[in-house]
């Protein structure tokens, strides 16, 4: 049995220090103007009763990940722990993942895709991803998804006393997200899609159209290959009949 691993971000604790972003850039040796973690801020209410809502725009590690399905090179794969890994050395930079991701996470720049690599080496050694271990506010956790869900439920129950709309995001979306978020308000307030989805044409294209196309090409090769000797003999015979 594979165990689902994942992240839990308590957005109510994030102080927006961006330490995770910098740590991630260093871990993955990214140029200073490239990042795998972006932030989105939203203000609700009016002064002086303002609430700030912060969330990270980073891979949500969808269980049913359309980016993995669409990636034509195998650069995007699911780990046994169900995290979505990216191997940039296989990437052609086609940007299909950026087009299909319902969260608009991957960025196709410099002929490759930029998205969270899930700190593959660390995680497979049993360590925490660097964004998690760097977080000074304890807003990020990493671990077995089932356990993260349990602790998220407790925290949400406490938050609901002050924020009645507080909730967990990612329980069911895209088959269940590996990046669970604790929100103080509705997902829409954070700019998160309530019902993210990948268009059904994706499955049709990959599972029906493509195999059918290749089969038809194969059939054409077979039919012409098998008839070639007979047909050219017939033709030569007709010519010599003159």
């Amino acid at each position: 049995m594979t165990k689902q691993f994942g992240f839990l971000m308590d957005t109510s604790l994030c102080v927006e220090c961006q330490a995770c972003r910098v740590a991630c850039q260093m871990q993955n040796q990214l140029p200073h103007n490239r990042t795998l973690i972006r932030f989105r801020f939203q203000e609700t209410g009016s002064y002086p009763a303002v609430t700030n809502h912060i969330t990270r725009i980073t891979c949500m590690h969808c269980q049913l990940a359309p980016c993995v399905k669409i990636c034509p090179t195998g650069a995007l794969v699911k780990g046994e722990n169900t995290l979505t890994y990216l191997a940039p050395e296989r990437c052609s930079g086609c940007g299909y993942c950026a087009q299909i991701c319902p969260f608009k996470v991957p960025q196709a720049l410099d002929n490759r895709s930029y998205k969270c690599m899930a700190c593959r080496e660390l995680v497979e050694e049993g360590k925490e991803p660097v964004c998690v271990s760097t977080c000074i506010a304890n807003a990020l956790k990493f671990g077995e998804r089932a356990e993260l869900l349990k602790s998220a439920e407790k925290r949400v129950a406490a938050l609901q006393k002050t924020f009645p709309n507080a909730q967990i995001y990612g329980r069911e979306q895209m088959g269940g997200l590996g990046m669970l978020l604790i929100l103080r308000d509705d997902p829409a307030v954070y700019g998160l899609p309530v019902a993210p989805r990948a268009a059904g044409e994706l499955a049709f294209w990959k599972d029906s159209l493509q195999p059918t196309g290749f089969k038809l090409v194969g059939a054409a090769l077979l039919a012409t290959g098998a008839s070639y000797a007979i047909a050219s003999r017939n033709h030569r015979r007709e010519l010599s009949e003159e």
Binding site: P72, Y96, Q99, P102, A108, R112, W205, A220, H235, R236
Partner: protein
């Protein structure tokens, strides 16, 4: 095969250049495109090389009709009109296509400069050419800003046009080699006997031109 026969001009220089430019760019586009599609070829596509090659040759590919129009406008017009106009002999020819597939020309209805199979081939190439170019351009300039549905629609149409073109090309190569027709597209000239056998109506029409002004303008001795 056809020794000591007179040769007649079937393809002008412009037509031959256009044909080979299209053929070369098609195969480069196909192989660079396939590396973007088949995981085992992915190492060839890494770092965007294949995508660059695909774009360069897409430009060559799309310029071929422009070149053709400049080099031989009448030829291009004839190609388009002939490809979409079918007479009774053409329909009969298509019904008897299985014979032709197996190398038998005798008993096939007489054909013009293009036989009905070639007409269908050209007609489909024209339609898929337009489809693959338009969808390719949308992907080129729009990728990143398309909705999921727009994007998937474009790649699927691009793929469908590609499959049709590949299958047409397999058939095209098959007939070329069964009927030894490669020479015609290389030199432009075909043997008069071949023309009589495969394109009787066309040969008759150029012979009619000959009687009008005294000599056969499009011929030379082999």
């Amino acid at each position: 095969m056809y020794k000591g026969e007179r040769m007649v001009l079937r393809f002008s220089r412009g037509q031959r250049v256009a044909h080979w430019a299209l053929a070369v760019s098609f195969f480069v586009l196909l192989f660079s495109g396939l590396t973007l599609m088949i995981p085992s070829l992915a190492p060839l596509a890494k770092g965007g090389v294949a995508r660059m090659i695909h774009r360069v040759f897409a430009v060559v590919f799309m310029l071929v009709p422009v070149y053709y129009a400049l080099a031989d406008r009448k030829g291009l017009q004839a190609l388009i009109t002939e490809s979409f106009r079918y007479d009774r002999d053409d329909l009969l020819w298509l019904l008897r296509m299985p014979r032709y597939f197996f190398g038998r020309v005798k008993g096939m209805p007489p054909q013009g400069r293009l036989n009905a199979g070639e007409k269908i081939h050209h007609a489909l190439i024209i339609l898929t050419f337009i489809t693959i170019s338009l969808t390719g351009l949308v992907l080129w300039f729009g990728k990143g800003n398309l909705s999921q549905n727009e994007f998937l629609g474009m790649v699927m149409l691009h793929d469908i046009a590609m499959y049709i073109m590949v299958i047409l090309t397999i058939g095209h190569l098959y007939f070329t080699f069964v009927y030894g027709a490669l020479q015609g597209m290389v030199t432009g000239y075909v043997n008069e006997k071949y023309a009589a056998l495969e394109h009787a109506k066309w040969l008759a029409s150029i012979k009619a031109e000959k009687t009008a002004d005294g000599k056969l303008p499009q011929s030379k001795s082999a």
